[in-house]
Symmetry: C2
Subunit: 490 residues, 2 copies
């Protein structure tokens, strides 16, 4: 048995012996409401975190910019450290609509599997009681993003109880405004810039692979979005008296949107895919080895035919995407009114890949809209503008941010890949970029160190929605992952 | 001065002298809330109408079917009547959203012109005070459809005070459920069928021509509608993690809708226009003489370019129409969520012309949807159906009713045309069919007599919306129209 195996066994034993304590601390933490709109709630979380980490010997400093939620900086230094790892997590959560949940989002419960699979509620285990890794804890932020906090704390405990040497210095940055768009993150990072020197930044957020395999990601797509409003008559008109005569803005809008992307998922906007930075040969090999979960996902989501022709999910995520996420042209069904509406709107999000900047991409979309015959305005058009241009589109641009992708073969990233593999006891899945967007550019611009995402949550965690949950086995993986990172002796 | 002219002058004088009384009775009537959802409110209206007409010597009978609002039947018989005219009007109104009104919808006020033209509020006139015909009364149902009631009552008073012979028998049917779709009209008509024998049915509802000229209509378009729901993943998916892979139902829906109608307004559904009954040569002449108000309407509604190529509004109304009145694929703007929605829906209304039945038309639309590659379902699809068909469309059909058009050259209709022209003092506009839909088929099927629409309200009356109003001059025209009809001696 090599040294790594003995560490892994020790951590496993620790988890088995201390399950009730770990889960009790976790449920105490999960019981604290944490939406960033409440200064009181976020403060209570910050105080909880401070005490939780100070108990483990981490030096904690809470900082508060005016109008911002607390930012928590922490340091854990060891003699003769081989490296310094900067860990990021956020303690704020998405808002909850309690009426849509099957249980109280602030009163964590255990189920034997998902609600969809009719999981039954079970009491939390007492000392010595068995807990199945497939069981789940349901509560807001159970996955996103309170799980890493408890996993780090338990990893520190496990190493200390077994007298295992910690060989990495740790620095922590814990944010309280991630779910509202990180409005003060850059300012906080600038404030702490000098202290944040490290070999690698590990982002403790996001889900593992859909197959359940551990996964690391080395980037995230960028983001841009735009709202389009197309105009008809200046007030809704009776569709009997004026139907066939007054132009219908919904009709103009569906033609415009249909021109942007074909039903097979190929964007038809000129130059849309141009400039995307290709993959290195190494990255291509990794992509080829990436597990294809297409059939499982199709069953899970009830999808007969995904977009794209024979492309796997991972290949599709390496391309920029265009998605109509909002569409409004009057109510349907029982609330429908027989009118020609006065306007119709769509919201479109664009996921960007490395090499295409948000402003450039939005310009391409606007050029396309003009080519379809629309005159673009930035404000509600008045009567003169309406009488001048048959087709008017008001565009509101949201420039978002660029994609970031770290090389996968740097010393800092390699250390993390190895630690994850040891924790998992198997090859981990390497993802050159998440499909989702994260403002990694803030870290990249200010810190200029490699960035690796080290998610622990199961992919079906209902993140952001009702009935958020974490699989117990994923929490255990998290503890092992952090223990492995901390005790990563050469 | 011929006899007709002397009658017209007498009625004019009556209006001038009795303006305050007429408007007082009207405002009392308008102060009664009248949505069909309230049995108490509609009952109060029915009692008011009974007293109003009994005072003028009309025999009134109120009938109530279980669960229905009161139906009012009235008779006014004169010796040696030359004809019998059956008059229809409805006393119920659209619901109100008082917060959207500029004044209390149940407290009628006078303005010197429309709110859009900054009309000022004026007190109701005292005896001898002048009132401008361009002034307006604002209240729910001022136009739709309480104005005809007061106009008929005032016409009877004017004739009696001037000892003018009434030469037509009148029968009245007053409905209390028109705005909720006339669910019991057919049953009430069947109940009264024997009593309803008449030479012509005059529908007292709708607006006059947009130019302000008096107008008669001889039909109305039919109606059909359908709700279409198109499916994506079985739950909303994060547009980052799955954007480019999960099919977006809004994208499929916009392609489907765009295939139905081109941006110029031509419906591309196979056979859509087939079977429409053409116009007779006489009707074509009338259409050619129909005043084209296109430019005025364009300015009024802020429309640079109407649908159709060089077609006037009237020509467009003689064709079936297809209108997307509802469109929903997730919220836009600040409420937008970055997801691939689970479904997207549209509501479409179709206005039918004579010769095309609603069921036939809906079949044509469904055939088109199938040809675009969609599998049609009638219920929410389960996982098996979702996995089997890449493109699914749930269709909910609302069959509506057929168009009705009366010939314009029958004895009964001619009498009404002449009366309207005398009342107007000018040629009236003859409209073969309204663009709007009315369930005239119920009358046609059960009564089998010519049907003529004799509207009195101004076209810009905000019918159905907030700030409904009637122009005073249009109310006066109504009184003259009914007086002329009643005293139509050969």
């Amino acid at each position: 048995m090599n040294k790594f195996q003995s560490i892994a066994n020790a951590v496993d034993n620790y988890i088995t012996t201390h399950t009730p304590n770990i889960l009790r601390e976790f449920t105490d933490y999960l019981s604290l409401p944490n939406h960033a709109s409440s200064p009181e709630d976020t403060k209570r979380n910050a105080v909880f975190i401070k005490e939780m980490f100070e108990k483990r010997g981490v030096e904690i400093e809470i900082s508060e910019l005016p109008g911002a939620r607390p930012f928590i900086y922490g340091e854990y230094n060891v003699p003769k450290a081989e490296r310094t790892i900067l860990l990021y997590a956020h303690y704020d959560g998405q808002p909850v609509n309690a009426g849509q949940w099957n249980s109280d989002p602030w009163n964590p419960i255990i189920r034997t599997t998902t609600i969809e699979k009719a999981g039954e509620i079970r009491p939390f285990p007492e000392h010595g009681e068995h807990i199945d890794p497939d069981w789940r804890i349901y509560a807001r932020s159970a996955s996103d993003d309170k799980a890493p906090f408890i996993a780090i704390a338990a990893a520190l405990d496990a190493l200390r109880e077994n007298n295992i040497n910690v060989t990495s210095n740790l620095k922590f940055i814990f944010e309280g405004e991630e779910e509202i768009g990180s409005p003060h993150l850059a300012e906080y990072l600038r404030k702490y810039r000098k202290k944040l020197k490290a070999d690698v930044l590990a982002i403790c957020d996001g889900p593992v692979h859909q197959s359940g395999k551990p996964q690391l990601y080395f980037g995230a797509r960028g983001f841009a979005c735009l709202d389009i409003t197309v105009y008809g008559p200046n007030r809704p008109l009776h569709s009997g008296h004026y139907g066939n005569w007054a132009p219908n803005p919904s009709l103009l809008l569906v033609h415009l949107l249909a021109s942007m992307k074909d039903p097979d998922g190929n964007v038809r906007i000129e130059n849309f895919y141009d400039g995307a930075e290709g993959l290195s040969d190494d990255e291509k090999k990794i992509i080829d080895a990436y597990p294809d979960t297409g059939d499982d996902l199709k069953s899970e989501f009830g999808v007969a035919k995904p977009e794209g022709k024979n492309n796997s999910l991972i290949e599709r995520l390496l391309l920029p995407s265009l998605n109509i996420h909002g569409l409004e042209g009057g109510p349907v069904g029982n609330l429908a009114q027989n009118v020609i509406p006065s306007s119709a709107s769509a919201s479109i999000d664009i996921r960007l890949v490395k090499g295409i900047e948000p402003g450039v991409m939005l310009d391409r979309v606007e050029d396309h809209i003009r080519k379809q015959g629309f005159h673009i305005v930035r404000e509600e058009p008045g009567i003169k503008t309406r009488m001048k241009y048959p087709w008017l589109a008001k565009i509101v641009r949201h420039e978002g941010y660029s994609a970031v992708r770290t090389r996968m073969d740097l010393p800092g990233t390699n250390a993390i890949i190895e630690a994850a593999q040891r924790a998992a006891g198997e090859e981990v899945v390497l993802l050159p970029t998440m499909g989702a967007s994260l403002p990694l550019y803030i870290f990249k611009d200010l810190l200029n160190i490699p960035i690796v995402g080290i998610p622990i949550a199961n992919h079906d965690n209902n993140q952001h929605g009702p009935d958020e949950n974490i699989r117990i086995g994923n929490l255990w993986y998290g503890i092992k992952l952090f223990a492995s990172l901390l005790a990563q002796a050469k």
